[in-house]
Subunit: 439 residues, 4 copies
């Protein structure tokens, strides 16, 4: 067997082939911290709504790397005066690792246990205990810090930072295409090839040549559509709500029943105790969490076991939209729900999801966004929304909704609580809470 | 909110939309036994090779149902004299449930613990303790038995049996398309629409009109290609081998360390004890198993912990092909491997994978295959391979290979055991074992 | 050979299979007037820009029919109280025939010879001399008039009219998907399947259920993108400009050289004479016209032969955008062009293309648009732009540009007229005319 | 306007984007000889069967160029020792121009007028009168001859020759994918990306690394499927038969009616006279020919006008298959047809289509094929069919059929000639001629 130049190829349904021919990248993929991403779904609870979307963060991270690799190689070839080839590896490593700190059901988990996946990403990259850090250190002693600083936006070269994190970056470009592919919701598709043809390094960031303006515009619209149709889907949020209630209940019960939770869910204990290490964090994944929820199905606490069972077997709450102004009136619904016998702390919830599809650079904000710059033929830059009325219509305005979740039993027509159900539904029209006034 | 006729739609990337408008089907999907399929990957260890292929058996079963529904509805409309509409529901239920007894890593699990997923499918359908059985019983008291008899091929109407299980059935048609979509290996694609246009019920089975002969031929070729390229991929089989060794080691250790295994892997205990119920079986899934393997990583037994770690972090053995005649000579390799310090019982393995892409009906066999019949314009039937030289070339011949797995360390060039490695590689040419004679 | 129920299937790359099982439809397709559509490109001069887009109006018309058929069959099945099955055939015939009066390079041809493809469509349907009319008459004596009245929007049932012609009709849905497929510009894709699931007949038209609102929104955006990127492409318009100049020149020369034109382009003579019959019109197609242009390449008139050659060999003029306010200043450019030796009547042109992507119903207009209605769960209707900020941003505003075309020689750097070229380009910045003021 | 490096991009639905950044290639595309390919359909009469397949030879030639460019650039980068970068331009030019001599309906035209499109390709490249030749001469005086010698297989470097013309070359790879895309017959798809990853220059040709063996195998199967399903479709051949009869009749009439043909079809006259120049040949295209056929529709000769009308309006003959041994018996059918009143010289025909999907190198043949070589890991070569039983089944055996065409009136059941029709159909079973013996 002759020795061969390293070239490992990953067959990817979104990008067809992802070749890897750099030893550092190859070794990073082989680390246990990166392999762990195979066990964490990219879209969390969305796969309970879009059953096809069971893809992991592992696949997404490979995809982000692949886009970053192609762009940096194109920059190296076509823009040697504006882009330094020395940035290629740091960009590619940051692309590959940008989500390595994500955990199981990150959003909900973070809100209950006060973790922060970005801080953990940085820790995985910079702490000497990890395999990821060991691989990066081989490049140079300060390389881990460099990669981490890209993640935290502190890296000196804004070109690199913007490729990894901006309103149109390698991360978003991969996840829109990938989530679109796996959900089957074609709204997320856009012309990646064209965007990769017109992306250009400029002195302090990146820009897009005007020939690709409509492709960029289409990308913004695709992003908006995916948020509206997929990421904010009411059924997925019902699963998130359920998960939140379940972990909240477990956290409440833990101090009284430490032995039980040590037996049935040992790896969660450091989080119940609010005293966890990086290694504790890395011990969790979707499978572990779901295994524990299955264990909890037989717990004597009725609320815990019921919520656990609902999660494991996908019994979802129903929801209606409400206007901000009517939020104060929701108690009228909670009262009915309580009357029927549900603990409204665990069986109702409000859940708001809003996204700002695009915005200008607003220096007065805490985290101002980098606006998208379009490069005219003579090199002058124009901000995207000045050229696109579509984008302008989405600029600076958040889109989404507020939802009130409640037990599906309230909508059934064949139960004992006919009067309460009728009272309840009298407040609803077209899936919308009428409020007290408008009713 | 007006009551509406039931119509639930599943967005599916393979079939676009899967509408469900039958209450029985809808209720079956909602059972805990069916929801459990979300936690079992369709392709087992293949997702470690084709990272995109993380789809579950849940998605596949929905797809098989969808194909069966379309075909039975078309039969009802176009062939009222040959096909009875009374068969629609039993066919669709059997399609939906045909894999409901599959477990985590079925193949390997069955070989270690002597389970049988088909028998379990039947049990889930017929035992009164399951939610699936309760839903089916609502149709009629004998309905569960009818559905089960389709699975076991004992159902009276061969049309139904062949739609669910034959050389070109709804099951295979969905999984080829689906596995193709998720792996990104386009070889599995074929013209499902055309096949669904030409499929025809005949007195004692199904046939395909001659206008679709090439689509059927293409399906057979796709099936062959998927086996060669995806299902038999050496890397996926390395993961299977690893899993096999790991469970074998655990089973060996169990009698001596019952407490340990009760603590770290309680749901496997009934299987170690060889005394398990249906409920025990349904308690297992990919996430549970992998959680246990993670637990075992810290077991003091070096072999168990090492194999567990290799599985969790995807450290694969290497392999070479060997010819049957040379199998006896493999000891020469095992000896070298032992010399370097590996326990060959756990660090070498042989793994053979063969598939017979298509065959004629051979009544002398124990399980003769139903051959594919092509219907001429005047109604006469001709067996497929008589019309297609492509299919003829694949008829009656198994395709696959025998592989010998060994530690990847044997191929590294930078280690202490240079002499042994050279001895080892001298027996290999083009990934093939030379045997003693041909060397 | 047994007689079989009629079922002809057309393999279509956009809709996969288009089955035809109605004798009237089948016979209409076989008429010489419909077959003639094979010889007329759907996108006229666009195939000179998007080389893949060489598809004919024949394919588009089949596609429109197919969409109309699916919708009317779904209406018949699901909405028997709102939709009458008697409307199916008239809808499908109108869908199939809606473009049968289109001619070669319709737009330009109509502006030079004052023809009207819609009037001709009506004539083909209603005049007794055509094969189309003969087929339709077989249905019933007044059937041709009924079909024609759908085309002219006079048909009594607005449901039918809106399916064929409204802001979201079968025509537009097919051409966006088809033109997208053939150009390769994926911007035109939208979720036809979902739209066909939510389209609903209402008393006096059609509406779309709210579950499909985002699919309708996406359709509007796709439409906008296709206009901006494909239909208004400057290079295609350069070909249109060229064609216009060419026919203008021929028309000018005709009275002086009748014999020449009778010999080289006999089928255009009735149009030069402004005395043509329906049969004359049907004698023209893309191939005939291009054959004539090839003949004209050797005409002694330098302008005619040069324009003909430019058309046949695709030598395109260049263009710049200008603002309305600067239109009066364009003479400064024309003067330079004349100085260099070009006849500005034939070698410069202005070309404006604007589209109104969506609009509300505005009864004060001559041809008010039918607005798109979204149906809430309780049956109330809401106009689309009230629900979609994306659509709102496109409502009531035209998009497009004004362009000034001129000989490409003006931009070459290697010619004799250096001073004039420099003067010329000094008025241009980023492909935009600066005007006298802003320069 | 800043001068920019040349980069023209063609949007292509098959290859997405085809960038052109070489001035010679760009200039070749702009020549009148190459632009003429826009007016010649790639699949000739097939678009009358597969209505979507109206793409021109222009699009195909661009696609072949694109594949050749990618392969030669990859060779230059990865195999500097085996492949000389000096071959890139000659390979790319040959790829672009390989079909430039094709004419309208080449096959039939060549059989009637004894032309040879390959010889004409060579003439266009090497004769000093053409624009193509002028562009090529700018590279170097002997460059046209070099390019031409690739077309004729005489070029010294077999690597280049095989890329352009062998059993797996850039030409075939583009047309299978393209014809598949435009017909909608997905059978033609194969994994081009993978083949382009494993293609390798060897000393005297090209080979494919073993990792891509199944992709090559799949390509061979796709090729076979496209021949069986698309290229040999009986309806397309009916159009070819019709065209053949039509031109045969015109050629027969010409000597008697020279004036008529000079008026109605002047550009065919040099061919009727069998005295044509290259320029005469280049004056023909699909549109010109069809324009002439339309003219002939009103010729007083009933056969000519009837055949012309049938062609223009797609009135097809029917056909049945026959076995070689029964060919002698076909007169029995011709006799019946004559009895009914048809001139069997013009209203019946036999048409045979056979393809040899793959073959070994057979030096004893006049034009031996270059066999496909698979490269093992250690560099040894193995002929493809030794590794693939699928390919072996297709090796050395021709596939196709013999068909007898006859007027569709013979199958109608509602005419005057009932007895003759019954006699006729008694010889047919399942679209197959029974012969005298088997009847």
């Amino acid at each position: 067997m002759a020795t061969q130049k390293l070239e490992k190829v990953f067959r990817d349904p979104v990008h067809n082939y992802i070749p890897v021919n750099n030893q550092t990248i190859y070794d990073l993929i082989a680390t246990k911290e990166f392999q762990r991403l195979r066990r964490i779904k990219q879209l969390g609870t969305s796969s309970y709504t879009f059953h096809g979307a069971e893809h992991s963060r592992f696949t997404h991270c490979l995809g982000v790397y692949h886009i970053a690799k192609q762009i940096t190689e194109m920059f190296t070839k076509n823009y040697p005066e504006t882009w330094s080839a020395d940035e290629n590896l740091v960009t590619q490593c940051a692309a590959l690792l940008h989500d390595v700190g994500h955990g199981a059901f990150s959003h909900t988990f973070e809100s209950i246990f006060d973790t922060d996946h970005e801080a953990i990403t940085v820790a995985i990259i910079t702490e000497s205990s990890t395999e990821v850090n060991a691989v990066l250190r081989k490049v140079s002693p300060d390389f881990p810090e460099k990669v981490a600083s890209v993640i935290t936006h502190d890296y000196g070269n804004q070109q690199v930072v913007q490729l990894i994190s901006s309103q149109i970056d390698c991360d978003r470009m991969d996840y829109l295409l990938r989530d679109s592919y796996y959900t089957g919701a074609t709204y997320g598709e856009f012309d990646l090839t064209r965007i990769m043809r017109v992306i250009t390094p400029i002195t302090d960031g990146i820009a897009f040549k005007i020939q690709g303006m409509h492709a960029v515009e289409d990308y913004i619209v695709s992003r908006y559509q995916m948020y509206m149709q997929v990421y904010f889907h009411p059924a997925s949020r019902a699963m998130e709500v359920l998960l939140h209630q379940l972990l909240k209940r477990a956290k409440l019960l833990y101090p009284l029943q430490k032995d039980y939770f040590c037996m049935t869910s040992p790896r969660l204990v450091p989080f119940f105790e609010n005293d966890f290490s990086l290694s504790d964090y890395l011990n969790l994944d979707d499978g572990v969490m779901t295994t524990y929820f299955q264990n909890w199905q037989s717990h004597p606490d009725e609320i815990l076991s019921d919520l656990a069972t609902s999660f494991v077997t996908r019994k979802l709450a129903k929801s209606i939209k409400y206007d901000c102004a009517d939020k104060k009136d929701l108690d009228v619904l909670r009262d009915i729900i309580a009357k029927v016998g549900f603990d409204t702390d665990y069986y109702t919830a409000i859940h708001s999801n809003f996204d700002l599809p695009y915005d200008l650079y607003r220096p007065e904000l805490k985290s101002p966004r980098t606006q998208i710059e379009i490069m005219q033929k003579d090199g002058t830059l124009t901000e995207l929304s000045e050229l696109s009325s579509l984008v302008k219509s989405l600029t600076g305005t958040s889109h989404g909704d507020n939802r009130f979740y409640f037990p599906r039993e309230l909508l059934k027509s064949d139960t004992l609580f006919k009067a309460e159900q009728e009272a309840f539904t009298s407040y609803i029209k077209n899936d919308h809470f009428l409020g007290k006034g408008t009713k």
